[in-house]
C-alpha cells in the first residue's frame, strides 16, 4: 500500500490497529484508541531539558585525575551511549511512522525520537568539555570492533522492517526480487518483522543502557564526573518512559487488545523474542568485560555489573510476560535507585523559580478555604 501523507479516505481512528491499518490523516487527540500514548506524550514533554543547562565544566578537572583504566571505562561508555542514541534518534521515525495508524501513537513516536536527539546532543556537550577536539572519540564509534558488533544487532531488526516496508509500499504484496534475492512480501511477514523489531527496541531500552548508567553513577558515588551524571540521570528518566511505551505496545498485542493477528504472531514468535532479550543480556555482560579489561574501578567490577544486568533483566522480562531466567533476587547495586529516582533529578533552572517562569499564568483552582474570611 502506497504511503500517503494525508489519507483522504475517511477512516475511523478508533477502529484502527496501532500499525498496518490506514495511514493517519487528521492529527486529532480529542479521542484516542489507546489513551496511554497521549499520557506518555504529556509526561515526556514535561521532562523537557537542554544539555547546556547542565554545568559540566568541573568534569574536566575530575577526568584528568582518573586512572587510565577509568578513562577507558568512561570514554567507552560515552561512545556506546552515543551509538545507541544515534540509532534511536532516527530509527523509530523511519521504521514506525510509515506504518502507524493512530494519531496519538504517531505523535508519541515523534516525541520519543526527538528526546533521543536531545540525548545525542548532550554527548557532544560532555565530550566538547573534556577534549578540545572530540573528533577521535566520535570517529572511533564506527571503527571500534566492540561497538560495531552491538551496532549490527541493534540496527538489524530496524533495517529488516524498513526494507520490507519499502518493498510493500512501492510494489505491494508478492515475491519481489532485489539484487538477486527474492523477498516474500505480505502483511503477515511485515507484522512479524514489526514484532521482532519492537522486541529488539524494548530490549535496547530495557537492558542496553544500564551497564553504562551503572558506571556513570559509580563515578558519581565517588563525587567524580558529577556534571556528566546529572545529564545521564535526565537521560535515564527519559529512557524509562520510552521503555514503558514499548512494554505497553508489546502487552497490547499479546493480550489481543489491538490487532488479533499480532496476538497470534506474539505467540508464534515468543521464543525468538526471548532470544533477542537474552542476546542483549549476553552482549551487555561482554561489554562489562570489555570495560574492565584494563582494571576495575572503586565500587564496581565486572561480576557485580553482570549480576546487576541479570537483576534488571528479570524485572524487564517479567514486565512483558516472559520468564525470569536469572537467580539474582536482590539488587546488587542498591544505590542505583537513588540515581534513577525522578525526585532527585534537578529541575531546569528556569523552572525552579516558578513564579517568574509562568508569566501571565492564572491559578484557576479555588478551594472552599479561599472563602474562609469572606463575609456578605
Amino acid at each position: 500500500m502506497k504511503y500517503t501523507t494525508f489519507n483522504q479516505q475517511n477512516s475511523n481512528p478508533l477502529a484502527e490497529p496501532m500499525f498496518f491499518g490506514n495511514p493517519v490523516n487528521v492529527a486529532r487527540y480529542d479521542q484516542q484508541k489507546h489513551q496511554i500514548f497521549e499520557k506518555l506524550i504529556e509526561k515526556q514533554i514535561s521532562f523537557f531539558w537542554r544539555p547546556e543547562e547542565v554545568d559540566v565544566s568541573k568534569d574536566r578537572v575530575d577526568f584528568q585525575k582518573l586512572s587510565d583504566s577509568e578513562k577507558h571505562i568512561f570514554i567507552s561508555n560515552l561512545k556506546y551511549q552515543t551509538l545507541l542514541d544515534s540509532v534511536q534518534g532516527r530509527s523509530p521515525n523511519i521504521a514506525f511512522l510509515p506504518i502507524v495508524s493512530l494519531p496519538e501513537l504517531e505523535t508519541w513516536i515523534e516525541t520519543w525520537s526527538f528526546f533521543e536527539t536531545i540525548h545525542s546532543r548532550s554527548y557532544t556537550h560532555i565530550l566538547r568539555n573534556l577534549f578540545s577536539d572530540p573528533s577521535a572519540v566520535f570517529e572511533d564509534i564506527v571503527l571500534n570492533e566492540e561497538i560495531r558488533r552491538r551496532a549490527t544487532d541493534i540496527s538489524r531488526y530496524y533495517d529488516d522492517l524498513i526494507f520490507l516496508t519499502q518493498l510493500w509500499q512501492t510494489q505491494g504484496e508478492g515475491m519481489h526480487q532485489v539484487d538477486g534475492v527474492t523477498y516474500p512480501v505480505n502483511l503477515r511477514e511485515l507484522k512479524k518483522k514489526l514484532y521482532l523489531c519492537m522486541n529488539s527496541v524494548n530490549a535496547l531500552e530495557a537492558i542496553r543502557f544500564y551497564v553504562s548508567f551503572a558506571c556513570t553513577f559509580a563515578f558519581a558515588e565517588r563525587e567524580l564526573m558529577e556534571g556528566n551524571s546529572k545529564i545521564i540521570r535526565l537521560i535515564a528518566r527519559d529512557e524509562n518512559l520510552h521503555l514503558t511505551s514499548t512494554q505497553h505496545i508489546l502487552n497490547l498485542w499479546a493480550r489481543g487488545k489491538d490487532d488479533p493477528q499480532m496476538q497470534e504472531i506474539a505467540e508464534e514468535c515468543q521464543d525468538e523474542a526471548r532470544a533477542i532479550f537474552m542476546n542483549a543480556v549476553e552482549q551487555e555482560k561482554q561489554w562489562a568485560e570489555y570495560l574492565f579489561q584494563h582494571g576495575s574501578m572503586i565500587g564496581l567490577n565486572k561480576d557485580i555489573l553482570c549480576q546487576y544486568v541479570e537483576f534488571i533483566a528479570n524485572h524487564r522480562m517479567a514486565a512483558i510476560g516472559l520468564d525470569t531466567p536469572f537467580e539474582v533476587k536482590s539488587n546488587p547495586l542498591p544505590w542505583m535507585n537513588n540515581y534513577l529516582n525522578s525526585d532527585n533529578v534537578q529541575v531546569a533552572p528556569q523552572e525552579s523559580e516558578i513564579s517568574s517562569y509562568l508569566v501571565g499564568q492564572i491559578d484557576s483552582e479555588v478551594s472552599v478555604d479561599d472563602f474562609g474570611d469572606f463575609d456578605l
Binding site: 496511554i36 499520557k39 506518555l40 509526561k43 528518566r237 524509562n240 518512559l241 521503555l243 514503558t244 512494554q247 505497553h248 502487552n251 524485572h315 517479567a318 514486565a319 536482590s330 539488587n331 535507585n337 534513577l340 529516582n341 525522578s342 525526585d343 478551594s367 478555604d369
Partner: protein
Amino acid sequence: MTSETSISDDQPAQMTQDDRFVIHLDEQTSLTCSKDKTLLESLEAQQVDVHYHCREGFCGACRTKLLEGEVEYVTDPLAFIDDDEILPCCCVPVSDLKIRLA
C-alpha cells in the same frame, strides 16, 4: 485529575482508625499502613525492601502483585500494569491488602 482518586495536600494530620489498613506480605508477615503515605513509603518506613526507580508511576520498577484488597492511585500510573498488579509508588491502600512483592 479525577476527584475520586486524588488526595489533597490539606488532609487532616490526625489519622482515624478507618485510615489504617493491614498489609499481608505472606503468611507470616503483615504490617499496618495508613492512607497518608504511598504504599511504597509505608513499606520502606517499616524496612521492607522494594525495588523502585522513578517513584512517580511511569517506570514500573515497583510493579507488585495484588492478591486481595483495593488501592487508590494518587498519581495516574503510566507504566504497564496487569489487572492483578499495582504500583506501590503511587497508590494508597483503601482496604486491608494481600500483596506479593517481586
